[in-house]
């Protein structure tokens, strides 16, 4: 099949980017979206042109690197998938596909489709951890965790930090990401000592980074490749309130 692409090209953070049109011939419907970009890039290199820069690593939906805003949606048209898991059979022969980088004040474009997501790292550094003195690992079963909590915590921990929630949100809000990281620890016994400090520290850092606010549209949850629930946002809002009242 043949795919027409309209791709955002930008040399670096300072320069003013623009769209460029490409046509990729001989695309197999079994290719992933990233493999289709590999084909395009090989051709660009052959022609002596600059290949399109895009982030990727695992190519199996677990690392969260492959940020692409495809035809107006984070990671393209399929639900619960990353860009590397998106196959070309979901597109029509001859279709024009618009590919843009994540757009957010807090995610500056580094080059073409690559954005700087270190804001997420700084949010984690501000409180997304537990403080323990290392020693021997304790026996797993010596610390009882209710099954329900273990499952909710695991669901939250499925977040791969890809930033699709920010990209999909009309306000470029990072609430789904932050709430998943807050919830994951708030639901486990190990997370309790720092629970209320953590939520305040992480929300504070999120605000400093310039992410938008939450209007509860639910777009983040709908576009999240790991289908993280916005009930995590409610939990974060609850914990934040408790923290402020207790202060």
């Amino acid at each position: 099949m043949k795919i027409n692409l309209k791709v955002w090209r930008q040399a670096n953070t300072q320069s003013k980017g623009d769209f460029k049109d490409y046509t990729v011939n001989e695309v197999s419907e079994d290719m992933s979206f990233l493999e289709m970009f590999d084909v395009l890039n090989e051709e660009l290199v052959r022609k002596g042109e600059e290949p399109v820069a895009f982030d990727h690593d695992c190519r199996e939906g677990i690392c969260g690197m492959c940020s692409m805003y495809i035809n107006g949606r984070a990671h393209g048209p399929e639900q619960g998938t990353t860009t590397c898991q998106l196959h070309m059979r979901h597109f029509k022969d001859g279709e024009t596909v618009v590919v843009e980088p994540w757009r957010a004040q807090a995610f500056p474009v580094l080059k073409d489709l690559v954005v700087d997501r270190s804001a997420f790292d700084r949010i984690i550094q501000s409180g997304g951890f537990i403080s323990v003195n290392t020693g021997n690992a304790v026996d797993a079963n010596s610390l009882p965790v209710p099954k329900h909590n273990a499952e909710l915590s695991f669901d939250a921990a499925a977040c791969i930090g890809c930033g699709a929630c920010v990209a999909a949100c009309k306000n470029a809000s990072a609430m789904l990401f932050v709430s998943a990281k807050v919830s994951q620890l708030a639901l486990l016994p190990q997370g309790q000592p720092e629970r209320y400090n953590r939520v305040q520290a992480m929300v504070h850092q999120m605000d400093l980074e310039g992410f938008g606010n939450c209007t509860n549209t639910g777009a983040c949850e709908a576009e999240c490749p790991k289908e993280i629930s916005i009930s995590n946002i409610a939990r974060m809002n609850r914990d934040f309130m408790v923290a402020k009242i207790a202060e």
Binding site: R103, K170, A172, N216, T217, A234
Partner: protein, 229 residues
């Protein structure tokens, strides 16, 4: 882990608490306001309605609540403007192609526009009735020789609702209110952290049937009733 200081109103989530609390208070206000105004449908030449408005303007507790209500509307509007400005700044470069229709409702994406329509409505609405009642030249009358001079607001309402543009303004604004609350009612609970699989369907149901359908429909029925009478 560092301790964080900072005013509640300066944090993103703190601002949402104010938005949710003020919005849900206004929802409660709508119920009371509607219950009172249903007197308009009584076929008694406006007696029940005029007695009700007399009560509403003379009871000190109601007076206090109504001033609190004005302050809360103001808080809701100012907070809404601050949030919208902040949100716009969070995405300085817009997408070329956006398709949010599959991931969120139209109402949820247009709360600011819907709120602005409601605000314009409120200004006109207050000018026509609140201002007239307090500072205008409303004729007075007596009922049952009880010695009370009742202002005849019913006649003012009757006259206003006889104008086509006024009726249209009401009906359009009630549509805006309906869509604002279709998202807003349930959103307010989520903002306050109230989200539980056992109650979510109930909250959504009340928001949809009571606040997005029944209440706006009954409010819109008032000018239509007078216009068609």
């Amino acid at each position: 882990m560092a301790t964080v200081q900072g005013g509640l109103f300066r944090s993103s989530i703190g601002r949402k608490y104010f938005m949710a609390l003020s919005g849900l208070f206004l929802c409660l206000f709508l119920v009371v306001h509607l219950a009172g105004n249903l007197q308009l449908f009584k076929d008694d030449g406006g007696k029940a309605f005029n007695m009700y408005t007399w009560f509403m303007t003379h009871n000190p507790l109601i007076k206090f609540i109504s001033y609190a209500n004005y302050a809360i509307i103001l808080l809701h509007v100012i907070d809404g403007i601050l949030l919208s400005k902040h949100n716009r700044k969070a995405r300085p470069v817009k997408y070329y192609k956006v398709d949010q229709s599959k991931s969120s409702t139209w109402s949820s994406r247009n709360m600011g526009i819907l709120g602005t329509i409601i605000l314009i409505f409120l200004v006109i609405h207050m000018r026509s009735f609140w201002f007239e009642m307090h500072f205008g030249n409303v004729p007075v009358l007596e009922y049952d020789n009880d010695g009370v001079q009742y202002k005849d607001l019913f006649t003012v309402v009757d006259a206003a609702f006889g104008q086509l543009w006024y009726v249209l303004l009401y009906v359009i604004s009630m549509f805006a209110l309906a869509f604002h609350l279709y998202h807003g009612f349930q959103s307010g609970f989520q903002s306050l952290g109230i989200n539980h699989p056992r109650y979510n369907a109930l909250i959504k149901g009340v928001g949809t049937f009571a606040f997005a359908i029944l209440i706006p429909a009954l409010f819109a029925a008032m000018p239509l009733y007078f216009f068609l009478k």
